[in-house]
């Protein structure tokens, strides 16, 4: 391998360190109207009256959108009015939208809109939502348009239920000697991408709708706007430049719809909507919360024989992506362990909380906290080393997943190898607890995870390659550059396949849905796999065309030709050949005659053999492969006040193949950082009215410089045979085990079982008080 595995500098690096890298909000034009939302101050309330008369008096105001019925929106169930009418269902929900010439005018006017509310009883947790007498978030749930595999239950708060039934529960309980059962709960939180969401829309006289958006899913924006509003899909052109962090939060479609409606209201003039930080936290979709109950049975040797699992996901006020999150949580509900007898109900619950977007790991960091804490409780009860218990039960080729996919040596990584490697990295054999003095102890906790990517069964990825006259190649893919460096990896894959200098491959960073081939959504750690497969196919196409033309010019059979170093040449006599610059635009004979033309390569890939899940048993193939990982966290714990310092965090992930070493390590360390923040400090604090009390970065605090631990990263390489050069997804996995490992370390340190996130000293104190 010449290019694969090398720490190639990302293609947009210079732009990013010189301030030239452009994000959606950096594009300016005149005129560009400004949209400003008025948002609900309550979690659940009837809208009695909206008075816009004062707002209209502000100079520069061009439109006010309020109180009007628009088609309902939402991906799995059409349950969400773009702008609330009749009632609001979460704190932060848009109730009006002002369009004015400048941001200041729009804000001034928005502040003058008076909305009169009548408070309604609030559904403040998924467990409360699940009670029979709970207030209803959606009274007309049965009337909504929906996708076939969404299963809402009218007259309840259940947006969907995914059932997993495998093996024989009774048999499993009969075979077990030890049983543990525990419940876990945590509230929604936020992604905190540094770039707040932003969208502009303009409708041209010919009907073309031009949208620019900070999104992971520009192609979904195009599809949904066409679908929601009956627009011609081909007339919707969505542009996505660089995206300033996403982590799943920019996969849903929201501001784009508002910008489109706003532009329509002002005769098609361009309108921009930029979230403030507070709106980005409250109004735009958040990171899902969960209430979980996990019950495991195991025999004396520690083999888990049975599991019963209940997940109540906090989908929030609208189901949007929460339905898929609920399904994804069900498909991998056990964590990476082979459990043959299994019962799981995974419910998507409506509550009066901000609604949920995907979050890096797509349900897996959340369910892993519940599963991994239960694993430690089981280990404790069985008196088995927690890492050993995980090793014994580790999922392996030959086992089946909860949805009954038979695993083989390609579609699952090697978890036991990951466990062994993490054991060494964190020096587990020294023991979990080191006493420093009377007050401080150092404590380690471990966890494991796995994940497949439950994406649409027909999700495509496409790539186009065009030649320049100097023989260099332009690479165009629908993958959005959200920071993962995937577009650079795609260039590495192409360089490797064509055996050429990666610097002679130019990557187009922006996505434009009119001219860039579709990549379904840049989510689920699927860019390298699907985009990479499309690149390989496009490379084959280019190789075929280059050889075809060269064969003619060189008067040689195609089979005798080789490609390397931007040349096509005779295998047995490399001196005879043609440089790409001589044939990339056709070959010109000395007399001027030219044959061939610009070489344009195309490649597309679609995941194979995926199926929906059976509604009664969950059986089905939800994703292509399972990436596995093992984790360790070490903390220094103060026994006096229950504060702690993060000392070390380790992840060993079976990555299939390392494509770009420094980039891969960066992905894993960055994900660990986010996972530790989620586990240790980040949450929405709700009051009794369903209001989020901390929608600012001084009250909602991500990790800052110097608060981070030392990071240890290890890789295992079990190739995924159908992945590009054997690679597996890796963008999410560093995060997924952090809540479990930190929870386990702190539970050991404090001598009390912890069941909630975030793991703050006050929580530990409360748990200890409750235990007294």
């Amino acid at each position: 391998m010449e290019v694969i595995g090398k720490s190639v500098i990302r293609k947009e690096a210079v732009d990013k360190v010189t301030g030239r890298a452009k994000y959606t909000h950096d594009y300016q034009k005149i005129p560009l109207l400004s949209g400003k939302m008025v948002i609900s101050p309550y979690g659940h309330a009837k809208i009695v009256n909206i008075d816009t008369s004062e707002a209209w008096k502000v100079p520069g105001v061009r439109a006010i959108l309020a109180g009007k019925q628009y088609p309902l929106t939402g991906e799995a169930i059409r349950d969400r009015p773009p702008i609330a009418v009749d009632k609001v269902r979460y704190h932060g929900e848009p109730v009006a939208l002002v369009v004015a010439d400048t941001p200041a005018q729009a804000k001034t006017a928005a502040d003058l809109i008076k909305v009169q509310y009548e408070l309604l009883p609030v559904v403040n947790s998924p467990t409360q939502a699940f009670q029979k007498d709970a207030p209803l978030v959606h009274e007309r749930l049965g009337e909504y348009k929906k996708e076939a595999d969404s299963h809402p239950v009218p007259d309840t708060n259940i947006a969907t239920l995914i059932k997993i039934r495998k093996g024989n529960i009774e048999k499993g309980w009969a075979e077990s000697d030890t049983v543990v059962e525990a419940s876990f709960s945590f509230a929604p939180s936020d992604h905190v991408a540094l770039e707040t969401r932003c969208a502009t829309a303009e409708i041209l006289p010919d009907g073309n709708i031009i949208i620019m958006t900070s999104s992971q899913a520009p192609f979904m924006v195009k599809r949904l706007i066409a679908d929601y509003f009956g627009e011609d899909m081909g007339k919707i052109i969505v542009r996505t430049p660089l995206v300033g962090g996403a982590y799943g939060g920019k996969a849903p479609v929201q501001l784009e719809v508002l910008a489109y409606l706003a532009s329509k209201e002002v005769g098609g003039k361009p309108v921009k909507i930029l979230n403030t930080r507070e709106e980005d936290i409250l109004t735009s979709p958040c990171h899902i919360g969960l209430d979980a109950t996990v019950k495991f049975g195991a025999n004396r040797s520690g083999k888990i024989t049975v599991a019963e699992i209940l997940y109540l996901w906090d989908g929030g006020a609208y189901s949007d992506k929460a339905i898929d999150l609920t399904r994804s949580g069900a498909t991998d509900c056990t964590g990476p362990y082979n459990i043959e007898n299994l019962w799981c109900n995974s419910y998507c619950m409506y509550t009066n909380h901000p609604y949920a977007a995907p979050f890096r790991g797509f349900s897996h960091s959340e369910l892993s906290f519940a599963i991994e804490r239960t694993m430690d409780l089981l280990a404790q009860k069985l008196n088995i080393d927690p890492l050993e218990l995980r090793y014994i039960n580790a999922i392996m080729p030959g086992n089946t997943t909860p949805t009954r996919v038979r695993l083989n040596k390609s579609n699952v990584g090697n978890l036991q190898k990951c466990i062994e490697k993490v054991r060494g990295l964190i020096k587990w054999d020294e023991g979990p607890v080191t006493v420093l003095n009377d007050r401080f102890i150092r404590v380690k906790g471990v966890s494991c995870s796995w994940k497949t990517s439950t994406i649409d069964t027909d999700a495509p990825s496409g790539v186009i390659l065009t030649f320049n006259r100097d023989g260099s190649i332009n690479l165009m893919s629908g993958v959005v550059e959200i920071g993962t460096g995937t577009k650079t990896i795609l260039a590495q894959i192409l360089a490797e396949r064509l055996k050429m200098d990666v610097n002679k491959i130019h990557v187009r960073m922006e996505v434009d849905t009119q001219t860039t081939p579709e990549h379904w959504k840049t989510v689920a750690s699927r860019g390298t796999f699907m985009g990479g497969r499309a690149v390989l196919k496009a490379a084959e196409d280019v190789i075929h065309q280059l050889k075809e033309l060269a064969a003619c010019v060189l008067r040689s059979p195609k089979e005798d030709l080789e490609i390397a170093n931007s040349r096509v040449f005779l295998r047995d006599d490399p001196a005879i050949g043609l440089h790409f610059k001589e044939i990339g635009y056709g070959y010109k004979y000395p007399n001027g005659n030219t044959v061939g033309g610009q070489i344009i390569g195309r490649g597309s890939y679609i995941l194979r053999h995926l199926t929906p899940l059976d509604p009664e048993t969950g059986a089905g193939k939800p994703g292509p492969e399972w990436t596995v990982a093992a984790y360790g966290v070490e903390i220094e714990f103060d026994k006096r006040d229950f504060t702690y310092r993060l000392v070390k965090a380790a992840t060993v992930v079976d990555i299939g193949r390392v494509m770009n070493e420094k980039a891969a390590i960066g992905q894993v360390m960055g994900a660990m950082s986010m996972g530790l923040a989620f586990a240790g400090r980040e949450t929405f604090y709700f009051d009794e009215l369903g209001r989020v009390l901390n929608p600012q970065l001084r009250t909602y605090r991500p990790l800052r410089y110097g608060e981070n631990p030392e990071y240890l990263v290890g890789f295992v390489e079990t190739p995924q045979i159908d992945g590009p050069y054997g690679a597996r997804g890796v963008g999410e996995h560093g995060l997924m085990g952090m809540p479990g490992a930190l929870g386990n370390a702190l539970s050991t340190a404090a001598g009390v079982s912890l069941h909630n996130l975030p793991l703050i000293p006050e929580l530990i104190w409360k748990a200890k008080e409750a235990n007294k």
Binding site: A13, A104, G485, K662, M669, P702, Y705
Partner: protein, 151 residues
């Protein structure tokens, strides 16, 4: 609101701009001068994405009015001329999405100028005012230290 025509010294050039009294330096740099390197992240001083350099010191441009910058020397990320910290960020993979990067680099650059012998404590004191959500901060630490070491 009344507008004022003021002269600002940005990246060693004089610029005449007309601003509202309430316009922040960030809004003016981006909206009036097209210098979009400084990013809005919170408009509240919490995140540091809008950090520029004013008279040699890092300043969150969302917390400063444009009119306050009159008579001061403002340097934005666009005004850095191949500063060593820029190359160090590239070599150390100290950014991913790149959105916080201009602010971080301006803060690091100011730190290196003010404290060429900065110890861990000083570095932390300075850099904890910015948020990076993609990296683990280890990469940024390595980038800063690689430049400090060369000084």
């Amino acid at each position: 609101m009344q507008s004022h025509t003021i002269t600002l010294n940005i990246n060693e050039e004089s610029h005449i701009v007309t601003v509202r009294a309430a316009d922040t330096l960030l809004y003016t740099l981006r909206g009036k001068l097209g210098l979009t390197g400084a990013k809005p992240g919170c408009l509240n001083g919490d995140c540091g994405a809008c950090t520029v350099n004013v008279d040699g010191w890092p300043m969150k441009s969302c917390l400063m009015l444009a009119v306050e910058a009159v008579g001061k020397k403002v340097t934005t990320i666009e005004g850095l001329k191949k500063a060593p910290i820029q190359q160090a960020f590239i070599e150390n993979f100290a950014f991913q999405c790149g959105y916080c990067t201009p602010g971080f680099i301006m803060n690091c650059h100011s730190l290196i100028e003010q404290h060429p012998d900065a110890d861990d404590r000083t570095i932390k004191e300075w850099l904890e005012s910015n948020i990076c959500r993609c990296t683990s901060y280890i990469e940024i630490e390595q980038a800063v230290k690689s430049v400090l070491k060369k000084k």
